[in-house]
């Protein structure tokens, strides 16, 4: 089994999930509570990776982070490195690719929190931010957990975007799914079977744990 690729995929998925929680939660809050008319445009942009072929998304990301693009040039100036075909580039692409998987469940759970609770908190003199932290976020833990797990699982299995942006460099950008592809191309079916089975087992375990966990821990809400 290609332990190097598995380790890389795990690192990529954990980092992507962490970044998406940090960036996606405020974005989800904005989408859930903003009354701007053009909000739907942002929603559409966030949801794009759901319908866009990964190759198209990967192609645009590749153009956007290339050394001749403003972003790529800035990165080059700051770090002396290049984003395409690097772990950092792959991380950026993964974040964009999995954004809807974090934002949508989190925004849905924020929006599902009874507005009466939020207003009551405001009338008790508690600021908007503190109300979010003390009422909205705790009541949305399920949605936040779901978003995190979906992003993690989605990143573990991504293929097209990785191939476009990261290429196939062992230890740097060769993720599990690329590794399986390589093994099949090399007619090494035994290795491909092993790695695939590992990925299947991992995905199932993560999802099973999630669903089991949701049943137990927060069964008080929203059906009480």
């Amino acid at each position: 089994m290609d332990w190097q690729a598995i380790w890389l995929s795990l690192r990529l998925s954990v980092s992507t999930t962490a970044i998406l929680l940090a960036v996606g939660t405020p974005l989800a809050a904005w989408l859930a509570f903003s009354r701007r008319r053009w909000k739907f445009l942002v929603e559409a942009v966030v949801a794009l990776p759901l319908v866009l072929p990964p190759t198209v998304l990967g192609f645009y990301i590749l153009l956007a982070i290339g050394p001749r693009s403003p972003l790529g040039a800035l990165y080059g100036k700051l770090t002396g490195g290049m984003l395409p075909f690097s772990f950092q580039g792959l991380l950026l692409a993964s974040c964009l690719y999995s954004l809807p998987f974090t934002v949508q469940p989190v925004a849905a759970s924020f929006a599902a929190v009874d507005r009466g609770l939020v207003e009551t908190s405001w009338c008790l003199g508690v600021s908007r931010f503190a109300t979010f932290r003390r009422v909205v976020a705790p009541l949305s833990l399920r949605g936040i957990a779901t978003g995190a797990i979906l992003s993690f699982a989605h990143t573990m299995g991504e293929f097209g975007v990785v191939l476009m942006v990261g290429g196939n460099i062992a230890g740097v950008t060769r993720t599990v799914s690329i590794s399986i592809y390589d093994q099949v191309q090399a007619l090494d079916y035994a290795a491909a079977t092993e790695t695939s089975l590992f990925l299947l087992a991992l995905s199932f375990t993560v999802l099973a744990l999630t669903y089991g966990f949701q049943r137990r821990a927060w069964s008080v809400w929203p059906l009480s």
Partner: protein
């Protein structure tokens, strides 16, 4: 600064409902004001505007002289700045927090515990809101609002989530708790009995407007117009016009009969308001009596309600009388009987009749 809450607000909801409410309420002595009116009158909308949860289109709200809202000056204080505790109809307790944590939510350190004890909720401190009764939830919501030391307390139908028996029991408790808190409060209700039991002041609302505002007894005894009279439960609201005015008395014509009342200075089309319990019945016209209003009528129906009997009469116009069941039996009242209804002059209250109504 004036110790009062003044509110002149106009707003139009997307449903097309228009609210145009002007109101001045005293705050000295922390009185309880009941915002009273039928469903759909705009009571909750007004309460939300006072709390700062909805923004009126036009107008101004001032609390003890401080502007809370002023459309002309572009002032609109956030709910947090107004500190008007809002107790929602469903109490809106935080489901993820215990009773103790709910009460301590916005309280200064230590105050939460004080209120927990003062409201007799110590035994429930560790429970979650879903594990206590509606009555207990109401107390928790009230304790939580008061523990935050509000300047004003707004309660939206605070008793509607309770069953009938608990409602009556809780009513008096609620009034005592509010009075002892020293915080002026406004309670929304559509229940007449609740309004009487809870309020010092009453503001009667209908169709998005405040029809009358004053001490509860005043409004119930002297409703300003026909609509207020009906909504505060005056059984007989009779359209009438003034035919004579002399020696401080008015003579009113209504449905072919004449009624006498004390002159309150009303002019134009009026209504004569008579509470059913102020109508007495006799078998024959007794001429030697101090009572001026004697009306011949026919019994249309008779309904016994425990110790009382409700008698619907036809005196050329419908008139409702409430007498004791005992008298009704002694008089042997039957439908179609001819009787005489007598009403003291002072029991006839004259109120304005808005244009366009019968």
């Amino acid at each position: 600064m004036a110790a009062e809450l003044s509110c002149v607000c106009r707003t139009r909801l997307t449903s097309g409902f228009e609210l145009d409410a002007s109101l001045v309420l005293p705050l000295d002595g922390a009185p309880i004001t009941v915002l009273f009116g039928p469903s759909g009158a705009g009571k909750t909308t007004l309460l939300r505007m006072l709390a700062g949860l909805d923004r009126p289109t036009e107008g101004a709200i001032a609390f003890r002289g401080d502007p809370w809202f002023d459309a002309a000056r572009g002032i609109c204080l956030r709910p947090q700045q107004r500190r008007a505790g809002f107790v929602a109809q469903d109490y809106a307790l935080f489901p993820h927090l215990t009773v103790a944590a709910n009460i301590a939510y916005a309280a200064r350190p230590g105050r939460g515990r004080e209120f927990l004890e003062a409201f007799g909720l110590s035994a429930l401190a560790a429970r979650h809101p879903r594990a206590i009764s509606s009555g207990q939830r109401q107390r928790v919501a009230l304790a939580r609002a008061l523990a935050a030391e509000p300047a004003l307390l707004l309660l939206d139908e605070p008793l509607s989530a309770l069953d009938a028996a608990a409602r009556i029991r809780t009513r008096e408790q609620l009034r005592q708790l509010l009075l002892s808190s020293g915080v002026p409060s406004i309670i929304v209700t559509h229940d007449r009995m609740e309004a009487v039991a809870l309020g010092d002041w009453i503001a009667v609302m209908a169709d998005g407007r405040i029809r009358q505002c004053g001490p509860v007894e005043d409004v119930f005894q002297r409703p300003a117009d026909a609509q207020v009279a009906e909504s505060v439960g005056v059984e007989n609201v009779l359209p009438a016009h003034i035919v004579d005015r002399s020696a401080g008395l008015l003579t009113l014509a209504t449905g072919g009969a004449h009624l006498q009342s004390v002159d309150s200075g009303e002019t134009g089309p009026v209504v004569a308001c008579i509470r059913a319990e102020d109508v007495a019945l006799t078998r024959e016209l007794s001429p030697a009596s101090s009572i001026r209003n004697r009306l011949a009528g026919r019994v249309r129906s008779l309904t016994f309600e425990g110790p009382l009997a409700r008698v619907a009469l036809d005196c050329g116009f419908p008139l409702m009388a409430v007498i004791t069941a005992q008298s009704a039996r002694e008089m042997d009242l039957q439908p179609d009987d001819h009787v005489c209804a007598i009403v003291k002059t002072t029991a006839v209250h004259v109120a304005a009749r808005p244009e366009g109504r019968k």
